[in-house]
């Protein structure tokens, strides 16, 4: 009965689009597999679930599923000395590391514990440390530049292997580094094959657009109006790809920020359509940028105290008369943005997010 049910669950999943609904099916799948101790399916349903969580829905879920996946993997390994799922599990482990910088709940000590474990596993299973260093760079670039810089250089030195990200993603990391050191010219040059779509993957160039948009938004906030047009182009590209590639959603906050800096009228329409992104999302950094975008948007209306707009009744600030006190809306997002900035900065031991907040809001 167990295997029939499991096969039926797999079949059901094939007809469901990636995301929350399919994740529910996968979860049912592993619960069934857990019941009958069907090892392959215990692992496979969890792997698929994490993939959907990571790329289509709620990345926080991966941190809740990974402990069991890892334990299942290790128990099998302890018993048989090898595991056919090692490659896949290690790939999923990369997502744990790759998203860590967005979650203040992951302390630096916790991240170090993850990376130490990941490194040991790389050495034990015969993988290059290239990926290990890549993800160390991504985490430390916000908190410890010395470590980040060292990790990046080691990442570039180590050999590629089957655990490595695709060449498009790795090029995107290079862009990240170049933007972090402020070398925009070189970043644009190296990004050329990504931006003209000669080098693409499931995430690139959408995440590359996002990085440039974030860079140019900063520039605009600092008063450089010459880059408005370029920033708008990146913003449009992300907006246009959101329906096709969900990964682009990560930058919805940056799109809103761009509108709030360059075209508040459109920004308001965008906010009314996408406010749910903020409510549903559990990624602190993505929510932070969205919140800052809203605050900045309503800051443009400083001459008014009440603004009339139609929001649906399930909006947390819904008012029947459609009249909203701007200060109330701002406060709602302000509380969140400041809280997140403090928590992220506390973890990162710096003032990066508070500075971002001030850059957009207090200018």
């Amino acid at each position: 009965m167990g295997s029939d049910t499991i096969n039926e669950i797999w079949r059901e999943s094939y007809y469901v689009q990636p995301g929350i609904e399919r994740m529910k099916i996968y979860k049912r799948g592993w619960e069934e597999a857990d019941k009958c101790k069907d090892y392959n399916n215990q692992i496979e349903f969890r792997i698929e679930y994490m993939q959907d969580a990571c790329f289509y829905d709620d990345v926080m879920e991966i941190y809740i599923v990974m402990p069991e996946l890892l334990k299942l993997h290790d128990e099998y390994m302890a018993e048989y000395g090898e595991n056919p799922y090692t490659g896949s599990v290690m790939w999923n482990y990369k997502w744990i590391l790759g998203n860590a910088m967005d979650f203040y709940q992951i302390t630096e000590e916790q991240f170090e514990a993850f990376t130490a474990d990941f490194k040991n596993r790389c050495l034990q299973y015969g993988f290059s440390l290239r990926t290990y260093y890549e993800y160390c760079f991504m985490f430390y670039k916000f908190s410890n530049w010395e470590k980040a810089d060292y990790s990046y250089k080691m990442f570039m030195k180590c050999n590629r292997d089957r655990l490595s990200d695709c060449i498009a993603c790795e090029r995107d990391v290079e862009i990240d580094y170049l933007l972090a050191v402020g070398d925009i010219e070189k970043a644009l040059l190296r990004a050329k094959p990504l931006l003209n779509r000669n080098m693409t993957c499931a995430e690139v160039p959408e995440i590359t657009y996002g990085k440039f948009l974030r860079y140019y938004n900063f520039q605009i906030a600092d008063g450089n109006n010459e880059v408005i047009e370029i920033a708008n182009e990146y913003s449009d590209k992300i907006r246009n790809s959101i329906t096709r590639k969900k990964i682009a959603q990560e930058y919805q906050g940056d799109v809103l920020l761009n509108y709030s800096l360059t075209n508040p009228t459109k920004g308001l329409t965008y906010y009314k359509r996408n406010w749910g992104f903020f409510e549903k999302n559990r990624n602190p950094v993505q929510k932070f940028y969205f919140a800052v975008g809203v605050i900045r948007l309503f800051k443009n209306m400083n001459d008014k105290s009440i603004y009339k707009m139609k929001l649906p009744s399930n909006h947390p600030l819904y008012q029947e008369g459609n009249e909203y006190e701007i200060s109330t809306v701002q406060k709602y997002y302000d509380n969140y943005a400041i809280d997140m900035a403090k928590k992220l900065d506390y973890r990162n031991k710096n003032t990066y997010y508070m500075d971002v907040y001030k850059r957009y809001v207090e200018v």
Binding site: Q17, E21, Y63, R244
Partner: protein, 593 residues
């Protein structure tokens, strides 16, 4: 500083081409055809009469399993061009000398196509005479990178002839059936005649007209054509046209349903030459219910020539193809409801996915879109005119709540089916309806307060229940609700579900994550809400209130609790089933004693 030059090992290059760039040696015919067509296009540019009289032609003479000679009467090559284009890899005769850019009316672009002939022959022998010269040449290239060039004494007709002798083990690529199949395969829709001479028969290998071109398109012919090309009897077909990428073709509707994530392989031609049978990136993702034959004139092929670069033109072309298919469906939905219903019976999922992407189509399809609700299956149009907020929830919550919503005549939509949630949310954008996820307040509205006396009577029950359910972080309340045969109802908000899951994982998962999970749990804890509502209308609950058998009461509370979890489809964490069995056993033992 001393400068050095790279040397290229041609033999190694050929190995790379055959192992990694080309999918099979079959492509050598494609490359021959392609060069031939480009040569004809080249001559048409300089010879108006040739162009007007449509004199371009290709011919292939075969000595079965031994050799073949392929000839075009195109522009030919001068001596300089031979040195330049045949001897330098990566140099293409289709490149504009001034700008260095590839001219768009040529098929070839990379200057590596001729190398594919080395996959089937040891030498490549080319005889050519340029349209601008009376001198003919013979060039023989070898895979070690050397070549010879001699001036021919006799004059040959303008054009180029390529002679290949089968190398050991490659004889099959020179078999008549194989060559004929490859000519058909790659050159089926070429606008120039391809004449095949196998020493016995001489015949034209490609048809004279394309079924989707011309003023009067015969649908039956098109369907027949599709059947021949794909060995499938299709439901219907749609003629495609896009100005972007200069693209024409036909989309065939599959007679069976497909998964939305399926990637269909389409036959893609570039300037009438088959580029790939596995074309995937040219159609919108939602058009999975079609198999297409497409001829593009202005899209940019990749170096392997088996797909197109993802550039802006491709994106625009994809949108235009999408529009052709969408227009067809629109027409069908509005004017041929029977056929549309047949289409829906097979491809309902696809219709839903299109409706999500296209506002106009959504409004047309709305009467066909079906939703599972507590009032039975309703169409999108029914919902739009229901004049009440449209409450929806996922599959699990629907299982949990539908019984109560149904009994009280309240509308609740199961948005757990594929695309249902997005379709509902779009309804809010396009019509004047309110679409909301079910919220605890709506559930509370269904649970009515009991009278003061009844509340007083239930105090002891609630106290016992609170104590016994404490380990499950579950509060208890007494309410009255319909259906009366439901003794208890368990409600857990999303945070409580997540908290439950985190605790379960902490018990069973890898310890490395313990602290992180604790951090997550601490934040969620205050928002988590789980309540078991006893139903005062239910006779079991009434009995529980009046009983003074404490042991029995505890047993029944646990049994009801686990039962509500099972009805609601909640995951069981702490051996709840075992606990229920223990309690049932305890009741049985007491009654048997």
């Amino acid at each position: 500083m001393e400068e050095f030059r790279f040397k290229v090992n041609l033999g190694g290059m050929i190995e790379i081409l055959s192992d990694h760039l080309y999918s099979s040696p079959d492509v050598y015919i494609r490359e021959l055809l392609q060069n031939g067509v480009d040569a004809i296009v080249g001559r048409e540019k300089v010879d108006e009469e040739y162009k007007q009289k449509q004199q371009g032609k290709l011919s292939l003479k075969l000595d079965e399993q031994k050799s073949l000679s392929f000839r075009d009467n195109g522009v030919g090559l001068t001596k300089e061009e031979i040195h330049r284009f045949l001897a330098i890899i990566g140099e293409s005769s289709k490149r504009d000398i001034e700008s260095g850019k590839i001219l768009s009316d040529y098929i070839g672009r990379f200057g590596i196509g001729m190398l594919s002939c080395f996959m089937v022959a040891d030498n490549i022998c080319i005889r050519t005479r340029s349209v601008s010269s009376n001198v003919s040449y013979e060039w023989i290239g070898k895979p070690d990178g050397t070549y010879t060039l001699v001036e021919l004494q006799q004059e040959i007709p303008v054009g180029t002839e390529i002679y290949l002798e089968a190398k050991n083990g490659c004889e099959e690529y020179f078999k008549k059936d194989k060559v004929e199949e490859l000519l058909m395969h790659y050159g089926f829709i070429l606008p120039y005649p391809i004449l095949l001479d196998d020493g016995v028969d001489k015949k034209r290998a490609n048809p004279t007209n394309l079924p989707w071109e011309g003023n009067s398109i015969n649908k039956q012919e098109l369907l027949m054509f599709g059947q021949i090309m794909f060995q499938t009897q299709f439901m219907d077909c749609i003629v495609l046209h896009s100005e972007e990428g200069q693209l024409d073709g036909v989309a065939y509707i599959l007679p069976y349903s497909v998964q939305p994530s399926t990637k269909q392989n389409h036959l893609i031609y570039l300037k009438n030459m088959l580029l790939t049978e596995k074309g995937q990136n040219i159609l919108p993702d939602w058009a999975v219910f079609t198999k297409c034959i497409i001829n593009a004139r202005e899209l940019r092929p990749t170096a392997s020539r088996e797909s197109f670069y993802e550039d802006e033109t491709l994106e625009l072309a994809r949108n235009e193809i999408g529009k052709c298919i969408a227009d067809y469906l629109k027409e069908l939905a509005q004017h041929d409801k029977i056929t549309f219903q047949q289409f829906l019976d097979v491809h309902s999922l696809v219709v839903k996915s299109i409706a999500i992407e296209d506002d106009e189509l959504y409004q047309i399809f709305i009467e066909y879109l079906e939703f599972v609700t507590t009032r039975g299956v309703m169409t999108g149009r029914d919902l739009c005119y229901s004049n009440e907020p449209l409450l929806y929830c996922g599959m699990d919550e629907y299982r949990q709540l539908s019984q109560m919503f149904f009994a009280q005549g309240k509308l609740l939509i199961n948005a757990g089916y594929v695309y249902s949630r997005d379709l509902l949310l779009k309804m809010q954008d396009l019509f004047d309806v309110e679409v909301l996820p079910v919220d605890f307040s709506e559930v509370e509205d269904l649970l009515k307060d009991v009278s003061l006396e009844e509340a007083e009577d239930a105090v002891d029950l609630l106290e016992v229940a609170e104590t016994i359910l404490k380990p499950f972080a579950c509060d208890v309340e007494i309410k009255q609700y319909i259906p009366a045969n439901l003794p208890a109802f368990f409600y857990q908000n999303e945070d409580a579900k997540l908290l439950n899951e985190i605790k379960r994982v902490q018990e069973k998962g890898d310890n490395l994550f313990w602290n992180l999970l604790n951090n997550f749990a601490d934040e969620i804890e205050e928002k988590a809400d789980a309540v078991l509502y006893f139903n005062m209308r239910n006779p079991i609950v009434k009995k529980m209130i009046t009983t003074d058998n404490r042991k029995m009461l505890e047993d029944i509370i646990i049994i009801l609790y686990v039962q509500t979890l099972l009805i609601g489809g909640f995951p069981l964490r702490n051996n709840e089933l075992g606990m229920m069995n223990d309690r049932l056993l305890s009741i049985m033992e007491r009654n048997l004693l």
